[in-house]
Symmetry: C2
């Protein structure tokens, strides 16, 4: 699959020009953008070759060429130069992120909006499920007659809490006892195992309040099990409407439909990282038939946990810039909302 250098240069020029304009590119245009004293005829010959290899397509016989998905893949893997963000660009990004940082969700929203603004694509952020973290401490506080707050602290000091219903006559002392009962069996364990483990604890429990304990345990199990964990924030859908390739409503419907199905989106990104892919181009995406490309990047939360940032846009997106932006963001993100995440 090693092409002659000239073919590659032509391919690269063509792709980059097409990314900019969205118009099929003709041989004359190539000679203008990348002269080197070759005539359109020569370029035409080379383009015919590239088409035979499956890198180029012609919408109609009398039109210029557009890159195929295969071409984008080759471009992304071999031809593209990744240039980090210039100071000017990162300034813009930072400016977009200035202003008050609120709760986690607010921060995420802001990050997503900034990403979307600078890339002109849909941006997605996922906060990791904290359920893969290990439990460091557990507390229960009686807050009203029949409600207690269960507080879970992970090793990374991220705090997760949930309200438990308790019997009116259960007091703080009894809650403390319950915690002490649970601690030796749960501390150090992963959060997503907590539910099942909690149930087992019951075996060795004090017998006089067995029924009540059981109720509470059941709730812990439920809450822990149910907690989906991964949270998804999305922004910039309307940006897509500026691209001529999405002036067709049918196409748009596929995309917006995809964006609405969180489960499918999550699956998509999960799949990408199983295959260690950062970029999915057009038809490579098997989850939806929407014609889009997806660029994703993980950001570290700590050594075991990461979240994901993603960009979804037209296939002719500026992959190099997307990678640079995502790279910059994922490196700087951890510090940005460390204080707000819990």
């Amino acid at each position: 699959m090693d092409l002659k250098e000239r073919k590659l240069k032509i391919l690269k020029t063509l792709i980059e020009y097409y990314i900019q304009t969205g118009q099929p590119v003709g041989s004359r245009t190539i000679t203008e953008k990348y002269g080197l004293g070759l005539s359109p005829a020569t370029i035409r010959n080379e383009m015919a070759g590239l088409e035979e290899l499956g890198f180029l397509e012609q919408p109609h016989i009398s039109a210029g060429r557009i890159p195929s998905d295969k071409a984008y893949r080759y471009y992304v893997d071999k031809l593209m130069e990744i240039t980090p963000l210039t100071p000017k660009e990162s300034d813009i990004l930072n400016a977009l992120l200035s202003g008050h940082m609120d709760e986690t969700e607010g921060v995420m929203k802001q990050i997503v909006n900034a990403l979307s603004d600078i890339t002109n694509c849909v941006a997605i952020a996922m906060v990791p499920k904290i359920s893969s973290m290990n439990l460091k401490d557990i507390k229960m506080i009686k807050v009203t007659d029949n409600k207690a707050l269960m507080i879970l602290v992970t090793e990374k000091e991220i705090i997760k809490d949930t309200v438990l219903r308790i019997p009116d006559d259960m007091d703080q002392y009894e809650l403390d006892m319950l915690c002490e009962l649970l601690k030796p069996r749960l501390l150090g364990k992963r959060l997503d195992n907590l539910g099942l483990l909690a149930k087992e604890c019951l075996a060795g429990a004090l017998s006089n309040r067995r029924d009540i304990l059981q109720q509470v345990m059941e709730q812990i199990r439920e809450r822990m099990f149910v907690q989906k964990g991964t949270q998804l924030v999305l922004g910039g859908t309307s940006k897509l409407l500026d691209y001529p390739e999405y002036s067709d409503v049918n196409n748009l419907k596929l995309i917006i439909g995809m964006l609405e199905e969180e489960e499918r989106l999550l699956g998509l990104f999960r799949g990408m990282f199983q295959d260690e892919l950062k970029i999915v181009i057009g038809s490579e995406n098997k989850i939806s038939s929407a014609r889009v490309s997806i660029v994703a990047s993980n950001y570290d939360l700590d050594e075991d946990n990461y979240g994901t940032l993603g960009i979804i846009g037209p296939v002719r997106m500026d992959y190099s810039k997307m990678l640079a932006v995502l790279d910059y963001m994922s490196k700087n993100i951890a510090g940005m909302f460390e204080n707000f995440f819990r």
Copy 2:
């Protein structure tokens, strides 16, 4: 503004027919749908009258008539019959809502999806800001070396908490003292006033730890102030793409843009309830120039607090059905997720 009965019948027929088809309605069509032995010519005369009064519009001189916003308003206020959901319809709605109910957000998502599916419009749910509730109890628990959990309990026993950063050497005792200091001044007050009030408390504080206290207060102020409270869940955007009126991308962009700006949406609904409106028709909406109608309904959470359900769709929506669906939902919603809300 009392029109002759015949005019009204024609107007009503025309609106309802237009809601179904989306096509301009001609005089012949009216005679077919609502005969009563009148000829098209007579209908034409009446329609000319209705147009003069501002109830009808003609896209072109040789087209049929379409209702104006004013006509919809009149229809909604005076002509429309509101029929409650038939058992069959409510069954469908209930079926859409079956399945596991998870956390609040999950429930909301499910409700919104069901609403969207049955109405073929965008559905929106808002959970109320609890900030209008009064504080009943406040606790602070040291959870890690430098983090404490502040727990606020409202009169309605709804619990809201937030993580505070504290100095390493601040212990549980000191936190308790802080709570005792705050309690007499904050209990019984509205949550959204808390921030400012907390700052005032400082005046009478113990002097030796003043700086640290100030930091903590500042955080409380921030967190309370910032706490947007109202949470917004939205679904069914892709449904809009099926309507011919939104095949125009520019129009679509306005709408999707509006849906993305949570603040503006919240403002819109807030405005509606200040004016005690349930329905906003087309250009009556001053927040966005997107051509849509909005139907909203409050659901009670308790006697002081309510959330909002809303439907956003094309101006020629079936207002009667929308009201019926929203009505049914808002009445049944409270029980549905009582257990999950906190």
